[in-house]
């Protein structure tokens, strides 16, 4: 079966991109609401405003391709097809959570969908993604690995080790930097030697400089298809910097007050969902079709919320399971 996605953006692909962005947006907003209701504990790092990137790759990737993402990974995990109740349930610490309550918001994983984990130590998953790509290359599986990370990752050693590694072994891996202009609270530009923290480093590893409008799902999709296919056909890795902006703070604890006045408003004008809706209307897609997609997406989020709320807390007996492959936690006889 040829599952290669076309470069040209037909009706079906465009509606799929819109639908997926809606799912990511509504589910993430719901996560925020559940926090305010104290139904989600711990921390959470929302992707509000950055959905176009995860959605575009989600649509462009082959079902058996592999995703690695960060603690800001709700959207990337959902974009591969993980269930909303699995994600919301995990955030809420319920039995139905993707990880049975053992991982939480920062470690969402659904191996059955190729979502190979959310990693909460900056940079750590880049070499892991390279290793998964090495395995795909070794096994001749034709899978491509996509590794998402933030701008702050570009100044840690693992980023540089992984890039060099991927290039020298010509691995089928795409590194996607979501540059949302801020590490946590500090502007990335104030602590980085170059303007584009990822793309301006690409040349050091023999890679081309690629900067994409990360709020334009079509632009990200076209880039994704191009480099996914190149990697799949043995052309090696790519490093893609997507320019974007997070509408909320770094995490639950951050109201984002360090941002200059007006900056958020300007980026809200460039909200990826707003842009995309206007584009689809401009292309002649009737508004009722979009309204239906929006209503359907909201219904899914509502249903997933109710399922997660109804799910019990994980059994305490689960604590002593699954350190080892035999299911146990035993360290002695």
């Amino acid at each position: 079966m040829d599952t290669t996605k076309p470069m040209t953006l037909g009706y079906d692909i465009r509606l799929e991109l819109y639908r997926l962005q809606l799912d990511l947006r509504y589910c993430e907003k719901r996560a925020y609401d559940l926090f305010l209701q104290n139904l989600i504990k711990g921390t959470s790092h929302l992707s509000l405003g950055q959905e176009a990137i995860a959605a575009a790759f989600g649509v462009a990737m082959r079902p058996d391709d592999l995703t690695f993402c960060t603690y800001r990974g709700h959207a990337h995990t959902l974009a591969r097809g993980a269930s909303m109740e699995g994600v919301l349930g995990e955030l809420m610490g319920r039995e139905c959570g993707l990880l049975g309550g053992k991982g939480g918001s920062m470690h969402l994983t659904d191996v059955s969908k190729g979502a190979m984990g959310s990693y909460a130590i900056i940079g750590a998953h880049l070499p892991v993604a390279a290793g998964a790509a090495w395995s795909a290359q070794y096994r001749g599986s034709g899978q491509v690995t996509v590794c998402f990370f933030g701008d702050g990752t570009t100044n840690i050693g693992a980023f540089h080790e992984a890039l060099n590694f991927a290039v020298i072994w010509k691995l089928p891996v795409i590194f996607v930097c979501e540059n949302n202009l801020y590490m946590e609270y500090t502007p990335i530009s104030s602590v980085t030697a170059v303007e584009h923290p990822a793309a301006d480093r690409a040349g050091a590893y023999g890679l081309e400089k690629i900067v994409v409008d990360g709020n334009d799902a079509d632009a990200v999709y076209r880039t994704a298809v191009q480099y996914l296919e190149r990697a799949r056909s043995g052309g090696g890795p790519a490093l893609i910097e997507c320019m974007t902006y997070r509408h909320s703070g770094h995490s639950r604890a951050d109201p984002g007050q360090y941002r200059p006045p007006g900056e958020l408003d300007r980026w809200l004008e460039r909200d990826p969902l707003k842009i995309y809706r206007e584009r689809l209307l401009g292309l002649g897609i009737v508004e009722a079709t979009l309204n239906d997609l929006e209503a359907e997406s909201m219904r899914k989020v509502d249903a997933a919320t109710e399922t997660a709320k109804a799910s019990p807390a994980p059994a305490v007996s689960e604590i002593d399971k699954n350190v080892w492959a035999d299911g146990s936690t035993a360290w002695r006889n």
């Binding site: 290793g131 998964a132 350190v323 002695r332 006889n333």
Partner: protein, 325 residues
Amino acid sequence: MAELTYREAVAAGIAQEMRRDENVVFLGEDIGAAGGVFKATVGLFEEFGPRRIRDTPISEQAILGAAMGAAMTGLKPIAEIMFSDFLAVCWDIVANEIAKARYMTDGQITLPLVIRTANGAGSRFGAQHSQSVENWAMAIPGIKVVAPAFPADVKGLIAAAVRDPDPVLVFEQKSLYPFKGEVPDGELVDQLGKAKVLRHGKDCTIVALALMVHRALAAAEILEREHGISCTVVDVRSLVPLDTVTILAEVAKTGRLVTIEENPRLCGWGAEIASIVADEIFWDLDGPIIRITTPHIPLPSADQLEDNTIPSVERVVREIREKID
């Protein structure tokens, strides 16, 4: 029965598993064409070629990260970290990623991988190339830890580690690489989590690991011959899982526990064993537990200093005589 050096047993163990399973791959710095800086992997590159034996850049995070990514997607990688001290450079990948992936994902991810590394003192390399860091690994839930003392155990435990579905850290003792020993012919697969009783005595039970096993045996000879103190010697071999059944049984028989540890004093594996013994068979003890360790200092390099830092045969004899007599 062939006689192999400890370093030859490393290559023999890896080769045995690579011949058996095409999914076993091996990566690290200078391991391939160069045969390893300790010459422990000589011949593998020639037999298995550059597709399966991968020389890497000096990028320890990339080495272990790649091993992790490969292990979660169907391969069974063996990764070498040249000196165990360098684990500190990539400890995030070991302690935060590899060790936790299975539990955090509630079993979705399984990591059948092996990390081999040269551990320990005795080569005058100084404080950054001589440490015994097995306690670092033992302290992290989610990694199995072995440290063989003999060539047959090296081959058998490497094979067992490769076949184990969980991550295993194999500490090879660098000062033992030239040590020769009998290794059974044919396929050899040992068992993780099994201690071995190497000598039976009645006055005390010495529990030791890696190089210290050899010193324990030498000390036991002298104590028996010259001082009439007869010692059981247990080679722990595997810190995680820990064979507490064997250790507790052997300590209960003699009523005295002596641990000999190359690691610095605080939080050494011997402290954990002492704690278990005190908790579970306190009333079988006839006297205080004795821990013989390296002092709590970074390792010095000069002959005279290093030799007087890690536990010597003479020191073991002296301490046991003073405290057991």
